[in-house]
């Protein structure tokens, strides 16, 4: 064996490198922005939830007071319609449902998870909940399809990310 091959064993002896200057300041700034974003999302979620909760009795009362249109009962069963079916964002709705199913099929997370993984999962779930609240509100107010399409697109992206993280957890990351 060539003498220098022994150098292979000296990888551990390579010197420690000094971290570049200014990184700590950038860490603090990035952490501050991240915390502010999280606070904003929580507030937005709480506001959206409050709006939805406040709107429920109103919608209920309005429905009770409206004269009901006469209904025609025929023997043909009505097909079950997915939200958004027949619209431009129907594929996104279907994809979101598919990802939900895949997520449900994953094994339950381990009781002890790495802190970073917990943070990531909680962050993603928060964001999905916020999008869901916005979707409910958009449906109640019959917002334009492009707006709902954007929301469904965001939901699919977040579900993909959550699925990736949860899958990584099952692999022991």
């Amino acid at each position: 064996m060539h003498a220098r091959t022994e150098d292979l064993l000296k990888l551990r002896e390579l010197p420690e490198l000094a971290p570049p200057r200014g990184v700590w300041e950038r860490v603090l700034e990035a952490e501050r922005v991240r915390a502010a974003t999280r606070r904003f999302r929580r507030r937005a979620l709480a506001t959206a939830a409050a709006v939805v909760v406040a709107a429920i009795p109103l919608v209920y009362v309005t429905t009770l007071q409206s004269p009901r249109p006469p209904t025609l009962h025929v023997g043909v069963p009505q097909p079950v319609r997915m939200p958004g079916e027949g619209t431009s964002y129907a594929p996104l709705v279907a994809e979101s449902a598919r990802l939900e199913r895949l997520l449900a099929e994953l094994p339950a997370p381990r009781p002890l998870m790495v802190g970073s993984a917990v943070g990531t999962v909680v962050g993603l779930e928060d964001r999905i909940a916020l999008v869901d609240a916005q979707l409910s509100y958009a449906a109640a107010r019959d917002f334009a399809p492009p707006y709902r399409e954007a929301l469904w697109g965001e939901r699919v992206e977040l579900m993909n990310a959550l699925l990736y993280v949860r899958f990584a957890q099952t692999q022991g990351f």
């Binding site: 060539h2 220098r4 091959t5 150098d7 292979l8 000296k10 990888l11 551990r12 002896e13 390579l14 010197p15 420690e16 490198l17 000094a18 971290p19 570049p20 990184v23 700590w24 950038r26 860490v27 603090l28 990035a30 952490e31 991240r34 915390a35 002890l112 790495v114 802190g115 970073s116 917990v118 943070g119 990584a168 692999q171 022991g172 990351f173």
Partner: protein, 191 residues
């Protein structure tokens, strides 16, 4: 024997968990060097290693309050950094770039001592094999653990380590250092 992480005093860790900025800075001062070194060695690029250092500590600050101490804090922080490095290794951009993000390769360096030769050789090992050799030989991970971290099998880790050692041997023994990192061909399973 795994390379030991610097010992973080319990008192510093407790203060860091409570959100004390000074304790966070102490944690950074203790572990920024090892994390940057780990990332630089695994990725062979100072700029990517700097990104990993920053992303790692942002994650640490966001989650230190929830750290339950099931492992040494240094090990936990390095694990975050390793996951971030592996994300870079898996990305197509890293596998397409040259052997080193910032160091001139080959004859430009002139006469080299053993350590510099080893550093340069390590930079020229293909990305995945380099990550495996560092995790195994320096950080003390087992093949099973490395396989799991990379979403691959134990034998994948073993073969990558053998490939890395072989490449390092060739680079250290041979008079000419050729850049073959760009010859990564998935069909031949060289990467």
């Amino acid at each position: 024997m795994p390379k030991p992480s610097p010992v973080v005093p319990n008192e510093t860790l407790d203060r860091a968990r409570r959100g004390e900025r000074a304790a966070h800075a102490e944690l950074y001062a203790l572990l920024a060097g090892p994390v940057f070194t780990l990332a630089r060695r695994m990725l062979a690029s100072s700029s990517l290693a700097e990104d990993v250092l920053q992303e790692t500590f942002v994650e640490v600050l966001c989650n230190i309050g929830r750290f339950r101490g099931e492992a040494e804090v240094g090990t936990w922080i390095k694990r975050i950094a390793i996951n971030k490095c592996l994300m870079h290794v898996r990305s197509s951009w890293v596998s397409r770039r040259g052997p080193s993000g910032d160091e001139p390769a080959g004859e430009d360096r002139g006469a080299l001592d053993d350590q510099m030769a080893l550093e340069r050789a390590l930079d020229q090992v293909p990305d995945v094999a380099r990550a495996v050799v560092w995790l195994h030989d320096v950080e003390g991970y087992t093949h099973t653990e490395i396989g799991r971290l990379m979403g691959r099998s134990t034998s994948f880790s073993k073969s990558q380590l053998a490939r890395a050692h072989e490449r390092l041997r060739a680079l250290l023994e041979g008079p000419e250092v050729k850049n073959e990192t760009n010859l990564c061909t998935p069909e031949l399973k060289t990467c």
